[in-house]
Symmetry: C2
């Protein structure tokens, strides 16, 4: 291969480095006005009204809107459960919930006037966490929504999987490991907060938004405003990081509503502080019971995961369902029961976040398996390798067969860390493996590829360029198939009016979904060139596209000549060879209703040192291995793997959104602590496992999330190895570690 | 039919009426700078240098560029002859030619600094017209270009057609009519002058321009700046009128060059005064000799047309070629010779203009035929009807057969005027017919149609919406095929990165070219739906698309359900049914190298009154008939016909660009007189002839130019009928008419 498999420099690198790259917040249209949102300072309450009179009279204000201004719309959105109105209606459910919107001639005027809006809210008791919500039978956060469980009225969604007879298996087990793990709510920390520009015209609604899912947003807007799909246009320019925070609708509906009310284009750019109050990763509590048989085999696992979904469903139900499924884990366990609960609370809503439910359950499962191995007195690596599922076995039920050799991958990772060699004094080692069904279930991607007569290529595909390098990878795929250089390929960004349909940039699916569609479209173009060569030259066997030329055996000819001869048109009148391709994963098989497109596997191995004086954990060495099938752009894959690991170090050692009675108390870039360079491993190695066994182009798999899955248990297992102390609550802050490693003082009797 | 054939209200009407519609001059991008051009005040000279120092130091100036700043580019453009640099190089050739460009932070700063640039030009004698150029053997306007005729070094292009033996036919004729006609240079008078916004980035060059030919501009820019086609993007938003003035490259290359030099996006919006100095219609002198046989039949015609192309070729060569071809006229003439000359002069360049060479030759031909009929003492209508070619006969040589019954059409037109009834005292009547091979020869159009699962439709087609209603007509075509309402269809505007290839919005070809592509794409989508119905329901025979439903016999079902069942995907994961279609007119037959796609026929009949005191011509009645094949939107067709007629009245009675030694002396909206409502016919009738015999959707033909072709001779023929005086020079201003009708004073002997 010439282009695929090489660490090509990114197509957008110059614009990104020079600042020329344009994001949603850079978009400008004539006559544009600016918006600010008024947000609730009450965590739970009845919204009795909003006094907008003073704000409306403030300088530069065009209009002030509340939900009362939109009696004709269905304002609710949410992926499976549509419970979130774009402005609060009747009730407010979290601190930071938008209650009103101000449109003014400048951002300054909009914010100044927003401060003058007075919501009239009658407070209700705040349910500050899922634990409190589950206990509160009489206080219902969504009283107009029937709960699936009348005794647990604040459960948003419940999902369960059951295989075999878990109760019997645990009853007969020689050892039952029973532990509860907690995982913190964390912030996505995309560099770019949310920004939307909405314009209504005779052409319908045009929205520019830094979104991961332009087609999903289009569908939401069409439904909310009762506009045909064909008259909603959503464009996603460069997106400054997303990690799940920019999936489905976020601020697009409210901005479109304000634009409609104002009768002019409206731009809304929120602050980082407001982004903290938009969406988060689910806090989770995982109780996991694992039964061990007399031969050390795992006979059953019973897991209950409580995901704190916060005030609105967002993608919480899907997170709960996927989490319950993935809690089964990668080991051979004949009897499985998993229950995932998405539970409402008066916190910032939780939704999709890189790894999508999986870091939480891998944290539990890979901590538990380590505890079990240590309990059994066996090597955690050997124990895992013995019981991991084999390539070709389904992950669960009748789902797709595993497309990776987990034992081998874990072995490679452990070996790179020096597993089995002597551990320096004061240090410990741990490892873990995480598996996530990738590709997002039933999903369709389409792409169009155009080959111009000068040999240059355009790719139309709706993958959002989030900084992950999708644009470059799509270009490499097309260049590889079409025989040109990457520099000859232009990959256009998402625009629902023009780029063909795509489900969204999530679930590590761009390469295997959109990439496969690009590959097929490029192959379609190639076939057209061969057909033209057959017609014009009488030969096409062995045709090679070589930049602006075609080569068939000894024959070399400019592509332009062939196109003109084939189409019987002069050069200036010819178009491009164009073809579309699609990939899809139809519904109908597997426990999740659609078979896994592939399995994203992440292996982590850590060597740590714990400072007994401070509890500070220093990662002296870290190995991450990603099973990418085939690395179309190795540097980009390593970037994904490294970035995911660092993100994982965040929730492992440092990060936690702290809520007090539903109020986020550390929601600023100063108070919320993400990894700095000094927090990174002293020595880091990323390994790409490439067996060309993925469903994507050239055998590739998705690689966006794997590196994150197993970081926390690998580090916690290393801490346990170093200190003998097991901590089941993240993050492993110095204080928490220090408290855990203190010698237990003898109780006075 | 439900949607096609109805005068549907335009899709863009609200935005156009409210001012919300966006044109190129409305476009804004962050960091945008503004440009102004420095133009030559010398009509012909050697450019020795440009002093930019003072301008460069002026407030707000980013850069000042001359051609010396672009040693690496091939700066020339022009349709067949590339002789025009985007900034003058070595020589200046007309007053108004851009010599330098200034980029500054505001338009005001740019213009102020432009006034400080000092070109150093050594004047050369000015060749103020084609007549002067042809006479000047030693003064060559383009000395570095070899002329085809060494004795006529200022001929840009010469084209000739010859059938039979004209010399013999004229020698044997019983009567040879020999006359020379002149047609004025006129201004297009688009409401919107030219505007361009150019941005360079890692994605290449992005240009927003009010152009009729985005793909042609893309090709020019790719060649000039040596960038792959796939990395040049040209977007045409709404265009505020064009009439040919916005074809091929105009200000796109110079704006892109300034943006490259400035290192930032650059916006150039020119004034109406500068638009007068950009491009015009060709002044033409037509000598036509017509031989009549003893039975009154036309035995031969010999025509020489001298088109004054001005300083640069632009589309002049093609104009000369098409004009020579069309000078053969619609009558049965066995011996034909036509020569068309495109001649350089030091005037504003002439290029495409609605009717493209044809009003000039129809002016001559239809004046001549009238003169001949009057000479023979026969009714001009009857004489024409007797000798017009019949349906099915080729226009010339082996070109396509005529797809219209000219005698019948002319009869309908004459009858509507009351031809043959008594003429009120002091008035006269005249008629004329013009035929133009339509569609622009070899040309390809592609389109994509998408049917969304809610029954709404998107059309991607690169027709520029010039105000002619193309967007609406494309929507009607798609709606008709797909069974939805026009309101459910969204037609996106041209964007070379997304809308499929199209040759351009010219030659009355949008409906028959792009429209046919849209029709075929929509049919392709319909076939896909039928296929899905066959798969899912086992039936597709007689399937009807009815908005968001499909209907097969008694069975009615939402389209969404069918799509989901067919694609085995849930509603939120499905895309659209999408198909592409194309139309093309391959090269290889007909005298022009590509057979005519259709013939655009315009019939005009006028009744006029001439004020003997002032020479003022009043059009008391006017009938225009357009053979549109099928009127997809009758109101739009009538609008085209009426608008073309009014434009024709302009060059017939009022309009002329007046040059004195190459200097345009009436290039302002005050001095240049276009028709006002008081100049329009007292009674006007537009007739649409619909025999569904065109190549476009539902039998349609193009209808953008026909109304213009025969206006001048119809009016001149009516004046001759009223006064007995024949005037062969346009425009027929009061002074010219008054002079012509003065009784000839007896010469003193």
């Amino acid at each position: 291969m010439r282009v695929a498999g090489r660490s090509e420099v990114r197509l957008d690198i110059v614009d990104k480095v020079t600042g020329a790259a344009r994001y949603a917040s850079d978009a400008v249209v004539p006559g544009m006005a600016h918006a600010a949102l008024v947000r609730s300072t009450v965590g739970h309450g009845v919204l009795r009204g909003v006094d907008t009179a003073v704000a409306l009279a403030a300088p530069g204000v065009h209009c002030v809107v509340t939900m009362a201004d939109f009696p004709d719309v269905d304002p609710f959105y949410g992926e499976w459960v549509r419970d979130q109105p774009f402005l609060a209606r009747d009730r407010v459910r979290f601190i930071g919930e938008p209650v009103a919107g101000v449109v003014a001639d400048t951002e300054e005027h909009a914010h100044a006037a927003a401060a003058l809006v007075v919501p009239d809210i009658e407070p209700l008791p705040v349910l500050g966490s899922a634990v409190e919500s589950l206990a509160a039978a009489d206080l219902v956060i969504h009283p107009d929504r029937a709960s699936e469980d009348p005794e647990l009225p604040n459960v948003c969604y419940r999902s369960s999987f059951e295989y075999g007879d878990v109760d019997a298996a645990l009853a007969e087990a020689t050892y039952v490991h029973d532990a509860t793990y907690t995982f913190p709510a964390v912030y996505h920390y995309a560099m770019e907060p949310h920004a939307v520009l909405a314009t209504w015209s005779s052409d319908g609604l045009d929205v520019i938004s830094g979104t991961q899912q332009p087609f999903k947003v289009r569908a939401d807007l069409a439904r909310i405003f009762n506009v045909p799909l064909g008259q909603v246009r959503v464009r996603a320019p460069y997106v400054g990081g997303a990690y799940g925070s920019k999936g489905q609708s976020k601020y697009e509906p409210v901005t479109a509503a304000m634009a409609r009310a104002a009768g002019r284009p409206v731009r809304l750019v929120i602050s980082i502080g407001d982004a903290f109050h938009t969406v988060s990763r689910h806090h989770a509590t995982i109780r996991m019971r694992t039964g061990i048989g007399p031969d050390g085999g795992i006979v059953g696992r019973d897991t209950v995961i409580t995901y704190d979904t916060g005030a609105y469903a967002d993608k919480g139900p899907r997170v709960a369902r996927k989490g319950a499924y993935r809690a089964a884990g990668p080991y051979r366990i004949p009897n499985i029961r998993s229950v995932g609960l998405s539970v409402y609370s008066n916190r910032v809503p939780a939704g999709a976040f890189r790894g999508f439910s999986t870091p939480q359950v891998v944290w539990a499962g890979e901590s538990a398996i380590d505890e079990i191995a240590r309990h059994l007195g066996v090597d955690p690596l050997g124990y895992r390798r013995q019981h991991l599922k084999r390539r070709g076995e389904p992950f669960l039920g009748d789902d797709s067969p595993l497309d990776a050799d987990l034992a081998e991958g874990l072995g490679v990772t452990a070996e790179a860390l020096g597993w089995g060699s002597s551990v320096p004094t004061g240090r410990g080692r741990g490892l873990a493996v995480g598996v996530k069904d990738g590709g997002g279930g039933a999903a369709r991607s389409e792409a169009e590829v155009r080959l111009h007569p000068d040999g240059s290529v355009e790719v139309l595909a709706a993958t959002s360029e989030l900084g992950q390098g999708a644009k470059t990878v799509m270009g490499q795929i097309a260049a590889e198939v079409l025989g040109c250089q990457l520099a000859d390929v232009q990959v256009r960004l998402s625009d629902t009016a023009v780029t063909p349909f795509d489900r969204g940039t999530n679930a590590s699916r761009s390469t295997i979904g959109v990439g496969a569609a690009v590959e097929r479209a490029a192959e379609g173009v190639r076939r057209q060139v061969c057909q033209a060569a057959e017609e014009v030259l009488g030969i096409s066997e062995g045709l090679i596209l070589d930049g602006s030329d075609i080569v068939v055996g000894e024959h070399r000819q400019p592509l332009m000549e062939l196109v003109c001869a084939s189409r019987k048109l002069p050069p200036e009148e010819i178009g491009a060879y164009s073809a579309t391709g699609f990939s899809g994963n139809p519904t109908g098989s597997g426990p999740l209703g659609a078979a896994a497109a592939f399995y994203e596997v992440g292996y982590s191995a850590a060597e740590v040192e714990v400072d007994p004086e401070t509890g500070q954990v220093r990662i002296s060495r870290f190995v991450s291995a990603a099973d990418v099938g085939f690395a179309i752009n190795p540097a980009a894959c390593e970037g994904q793997d490294e970035g995911a690991t660092v993100m994982g170090i965040g929730h492992t050692l440092l990060e936690e959104l702290e809520f007090v009675d539903g109020e986020l108390v550390n929601g600023t870039l100063v108070d919320y602590r993400v990894p700095r360079t000094t927090d990174l491993p002293d020595d880091f190695r990323s390994i790409l496992i490439q067996n060309r066994d993925g469903p994507g182009p050239f055998g590739s798999k998705g690689a966006g999330e794997g590196g994150l899955l197993a970081v926390a248990p690998a580090i916690a297992n290393a801490i346990a190895d170093a200190t003998g102390v097991r901590i089941r609550e993240l993050p492993l802050t110095p204080e928490r570690v220090w408290r855990a490693i203190q010698p237990v003082e003898p109780q006075e009797s």
